[in-house]
């Protein structure tokens, strides 16, 4: 025994060295998996298209912390189903669209739109259509649709009913073709009214339609005249648009920065890797004075994205009330995927033109780059922002028997301005 330990002592450094070698040989980590940059994975079959889509959703979708969809389970269920499909078989492509629809059906993101080959899937819209009180269902059988942009009843027909002095503008060309805007004074009052069909106000004002610019000049001139006693901003049926309109429009009603919520995005590849919450702030326009008279925002189930963000920002002002219906529920702003490594992406690169370098993808997912949380710490994504005064519109209350129309929501707004 003594000889044995003498032997150990003699070779103690060799033992130590061996110990180290074994230690580090055993310390290698398991292989670190890799994923491709968004839009870079080539796909020759449906399995590869599916894997690219599933992985990009896993990495780029920003609502996993609030979403109820079990995305791992989607992989378990649909990977073998896609493996049976042939990318170049039209019947299989129809099946694939159905599978994609089932996969994304419950997603919270109400901007979310999936464009698989030959398909169009918008889960939030599909869910809303199942609700009989959804505005599109309510007015789907309307006797006429006087709206110039083909949306709903409340635009130019109502202008004549409620507005005395007014100005209407329509962009007939360019990127915002058919954009509609109207500003005017509510008949018999000093209440100013503004409505527009999309958020492209700053762009139109700076280099777009002269008619839209005239509407906005009218609005700002009235606003700054000092005679306006109340303000109605009508974003019903407004599908959203450019974020810079927040400072352009709301920034003209405030004199100091207005925080109304927070945004966060992804900070890494993991499904729950998030950045901190950054404050959402409206910055006043240079020289703007605070509008302290009553403001009513009209919003409804077709007020989407920037229309909702604008509603929520204005709601943060002490003199604002929201009238109408709960908004659509798509609050998360979007930008290029590379800004946050999150949001919209192409998937399944099936072909690259070697002459032009242009890639053809099986599909595209349009999804928010950031998650929005209101100043009350609630996330309204997928739920919509509720009004202070809910006024449901029905065919009977809007389209009256004597071929007249009425706007109960605007009536409520005007009553609040009295």
């Amino acid at each position: 025994m003594k000889n044995y330990f003498n032997h150990i002592y003699k070779y103690r450094f060799s033992i130590a060295a061996l110990f180290f070698i074994i230690l580090f040989a055993s310390s290698c980590h398991k292989e670190i998996s890799t994923t491709n940059q968004t839009g870079s994975a080539a796909a020759g079959n449906f399995s590869q298209v599916f894997e690219d889509f599933w992985t990009n959703m896993n990495n780029n979708y920003v609502f996993w912390s609030i979403d109820t969809t079990n995305w791992d389970n989607m992989h378990t269920v649909y990977a073998p189903l896609f493996a049976k499909l042939n990318l170049y078989d039209s019947a299989d492509n129809e099946k694939a669209v159905g599978y994609f629809k089932n996969m994304v059906d419950g997603l919270s993101d109400s901007h979310y739109t999936l464009f698989p080959d030959g398909g169009y899937i918008q889960p939030a819209h599909d869910r809303k259509l199942k609700n009989v009180s959804f505005i599109e269902n309510v007015f789907g059988t309307a006797p006429f649709s006087p709206s110039i942009d083909g949306h709903f009843y409340y635009t130019n027909a109502l202008d004549s009913l409620y507005l005395g002095d007014k100005i209407v503008g329509v962009d007939t060309t360019g990127d915002n073709k058919d954009m509609y805007a109207v500003a005017g004074m509510i008949t018999g009052t000093n209440d100013l009214y503004l409505s527009f069909s999309k958020f492209a106000l700053a762009a139109e004002y700076q280099g777009g339609s002269a008619k839209i610019k005239a509407v906005l000049d009218y609005f700002f001139n009235k606003l700054n005249s000092g005679t306006v006693t109340g303000l109605v901003i009508d974003v019903r049926g407004n599908g959203g648009g450019d974020i810079q309109d927040l400072n352009f429009l709301v920034g003209s009603l405030i004199s100091s920065p207005l925080q109304f919520g927070y945004t966060r995005s992804k900070s890494g590849t993991g499904r729950l890797d998030y950045t901190p919450w950054a404050p959402a702030i409206v910055t006043p326009r240079a020289g703007a004075t605070a509008f302290t008279k009553p403001i009513v925002v009209l919003a409804d189930g077709e007020s989407v994205s920037m229309a909702e963000i604008t509603t929520m920002a204005l709601k943060q002002l002490p003199n604002t009330k929201v009238v109408g219906d709960t908004t659509w529920g798509a609050n998360g702003p979007l930008t290029d995927n590379s800004v946050f490594n999150a949001g919209s992406f192409n998937f399944g690169k099936v072909f690259t033109n070697i002459e032009t370098g242009n890639a053809t993808y099986y599909g595209n997912a349009y999804t928010s780059s950031t998650m929005f949380k209101y100043i009350d710490d609630k996330i309204y994504e997928g739920k919509g922002f509720p009004p202070d005064y809910e006024v449901k519109q029905t065919l009977n209350t809007v389209f009256l028997r004597n071929n007249n129309i009425d706007d109960p929501q605007l009536d409520k707004a005007l009553s609040l301005l009295q």
Binding site: M1, Y4, F5, I8, Y9, F13, I15, A16, F19, F20, I22, F24, A25, S26, S27, H29, I32, S33, T34, T35, Q37, T38, T55, N58, N59, D72, H75, A202, Q206, G207, I243, Q244, N247, F248, T263, S265, S267, G268, T269, G270, R271, L272, D273, T275, P276, A278, P279, A280, I281, T283, R285, A286, I309, P333, T335, N337, S338, V339, N341, T370
Partner: protein, 254 residues
């Protein structure tokens, strides 16, 4: 394969320690002390799918209370319970230069190791090898990111200026805040291996000064297994420390 190798290492280590402890010519002594030093941690992961993104090592500090039981003049068992920062940085590059996040992570951990020494009476070299268990105690994040809902004030001026950087298009948001642990995602228990080398100087019968470089290699993912196809993250930490050991007593016998 890896598990069997680790089992063999553990078995071999145990046998070696038992064999040494069974040696009748031992000269056991117990020491306790303090040490502190500089840490440099790197997060081993893969972010190749993220545009213009990389991870960098960041420095930090650590402090410990080393406790050593010397079995012979060349072998001891050592534990160094203490606190250690394992910091790292996420950095965006190219057009996104300026976007970053420094993660400051505090761990309390208990390293346990075999300590082999060699050399003269006063100045000796040593190597350590062993394992450790740690708990992710604190986390703090500091950084800058684009703020999508904080646009510059609107002006009527149009500009054709090209953006050179993301912050020509977005207002930067600087943050410096406590990280809220996520019970679904964050794995706060860390297990790993360590290896180190250093020199010690025996000041007198009671005090010994030492300096050491140690490498801590985490074997557990910083995240719980919460998603399919998860990309793991491992801390790899170099620690350069100095300290002093106080000899509590000698119990040599034959």
């Amino acid at each position: 394969m890896k598990q069997r190798l680790q089992q063999k290492v553990a078995y071999g280590s145990a046998m070696l320690i038992i064999a040494i402890c069974c040696n009748t010519k031992i000269n056991a002594q117990f020491s306790i002390g303090v040490s502190a030093g500089y840490t440099n941690n790197y997060l081993l992961t893969n972010v190749s799918n993220l545009v213009s993104t990389r991870y960098n090592a960041l420095p930090g500090f650590g402090a410990a209370v080393p406790v050593m039981y010397s079995v012979t003049d060349w072998f001891a068992v050592k534990a160094t319970p203490g606190y250690m920062q394992k910091n790292y940085q996420m950095q965006r590059t190219d057009f996104y230069q300026g976007v970053y996040q420094n993660n400051t992570n505090g761990y309390v951990q208990l390293p346990l190791m075999a300590h082999f020494s060699f050399g003269g009476e006063q100045l000796r070299g040593f190597v350590d090898a062993g394992g450790y268990a740690g708990y992710w105690l604190t986390a703090h994040v500091k950084g800058v990111m684009p703020n999508i809902l904080n646009q510059p004030a609107y002006t009527n001026l149009t500009s054709n200026a090209q953006p050179n950087n993301v912050f020509d298009e977005y207002t930067p948001y600087s943050y410096n805040e406590k990280y809220q642990f996520n019970t679904t995602k964050d794995n706060r228990i860390e297990l790993g291996l360590l290896a180190g080398a250093g020199i010690s100087y025996q000041l007198n019968d009671a005090y010994q000064l030492f300096g050491e470089a140690t490498f801590y290699n985490a074997l557990t993912d910083q995240q719980k297994k919460y998603e399919t196809g998860q990309v793991p993250r491992y801390n790899q930490t170099y620690v350069f420390s100095v300290g002093v050991l106080f000899n509590l007593g000698k119990s040599g016998y034959q």
